[in-house]
Amino acid sequence: MGISYQTVSMDFKKIFQMNEKLFVGLAGLASDVQTLDQLLRFRMNLYELREEREMTPKVFTNLLSNMLYEKRFGPYFAEPVVAGLDENDKPYLATMDLIGATSSTEDFVVAGTCAGNLYGMCETLYKKDMEQEELFETLAQALLASVDRDALSGWGGVVHIITKEGIISRELKGRQD
């Protein structure tokens, strides 16, 4: 996380766990990333209290999309990536632009300053029906190779693997430049 060429922090948190089977990653302006995390937490907590049930990824995605579009003419400068398991433990992925245009896919979703690089790496390395270990390797390689070619991205990475048994989180060490 930085200001133009200057690095401010190398451990800025941009992936947030919303519930046991739902994560959201937010790329973009740091204060909007943090504010959206807080707002999403707020909305989710109210939902869980009122409805006495957990939010599914699809509902969460729609909520987020709605929240972003509400600010259509003064948007949050953040592009989210939603990942989780739905009520049948089937994987769910979605991304959207800063005003809430959603795209949900079966294979991969990307966001950030080096989104172009990420698309290229994912397209090349992705295979259907990977197991946990292979998934982690693929994700890590795609991420590291993409950020290395972007001046504004890098200083390592964080990976969360979401399974019905639990979450496995690992930190990546890449080129520290």
Binding site: R50, E51, V59
Partner: protein, 237 residues
């Protein structure tokens, strides 16, 4: 009753701790045509009597059982025009919910928001309470079929089976005897019709009652057609 001396405005408590306007609203409900509902293991049925003051009344023009979302419906006892306002508000709030969450508003949330609206009208200036009690039937967030009653005060109750409006005491007694925990939707519909018949003056047929059903199998609320109702009535004979 000395109580009524304290009934200056809706929003003032009487000495005995009552809000008289709400009591009077409940009287309006008790004078309304009977409505009842039964929750079965695999669905909910709600129905009401639709007897008209004259044979010249065109039945099609008036709808008492209304659908709010795909998976929920409502019926009332009391003042019709007040009911229609609540139906509009409930439908709008369900659509707003769908826009936000892309999911159908569950019945429990619908009940809470409708009850909240009704409560507002007991604590605001220049308004009076709604003169209706509602029976709301639908699918909950976990796929369970549920039946709720909402009163003019904004109080709501979940029911296995209940009746409101004229003759509700007898109807509830009848239901208490007939209700069984493991009742299925088909039995519930039959029981509901039998209960309705108890207080019905004259001949009951598919044209002078309305029945709405939400079934667990498809999670959808729908109104039974007059011929379907007639079939159930014929079976019961």
């Amino acid at each position: 009753m000395g109580d009524s001396a304290y009934s200056f405005s809706l929003t003032t408590f009487s000495r005995t701790g009552k809000l008289l306007q709400i009591e009077y609203a409940l009287n309006a409900v008790a004078n309304g045509r009977t409505a009842l509902g039964i929750a079965a293991t695999d669905g909910v049925v709600i129905c009401t009597d639709k007897k008209f003051s004259s044979a010249l009344v065109e039945g099609e023009g008036v709808r008492k059982v209304e659908r709010i979302t795909d998976g929920s419906g409502v019926v009332y006892a009391g003042v019709g025009p007040d009911y229609r306002v609540l139906v509009r508000k409930a439908r709008k709030s369900s659509q707003a919910y769908y826009r936000e969450y892309r999911e159908t508003k569950p019945i429990s949330q619908l009940v809470k928001s409708t009850a909240s609206v009704m409560q507002e009208y007991t604590q605001s200036g220049g308004v009076r309470p709604f003169g209706v009690s509602l029976l709301m039937a639908g699918m909950d967030g976990d796929g369970t079929p549920r039946l709720f009653q909402v009163d003019p005060s904004g109080a709501y109750f979940g029911w296995k089976a209940t009746a409101i409006g004229k003759n509700y005491v007898n109807a509830k007694n009848f239901l208490e005897k007939r209700y069984q925990e493991d009742m299925e939707l088909e039995d519930a519909i039959h029981t509901a019709l039998l209960t309705l018949r108890e207080g019905f003056e004259g001949e009951m047929n598919g044209e002078n009652i309305e029945v709405g059903v939400v079934s667990k199998s498809d999670g959808k609320f729908r109104l039974l057609t007059p011929s379907e109702i007639q079939d159930y009535l014929d079976e019961a004979n």
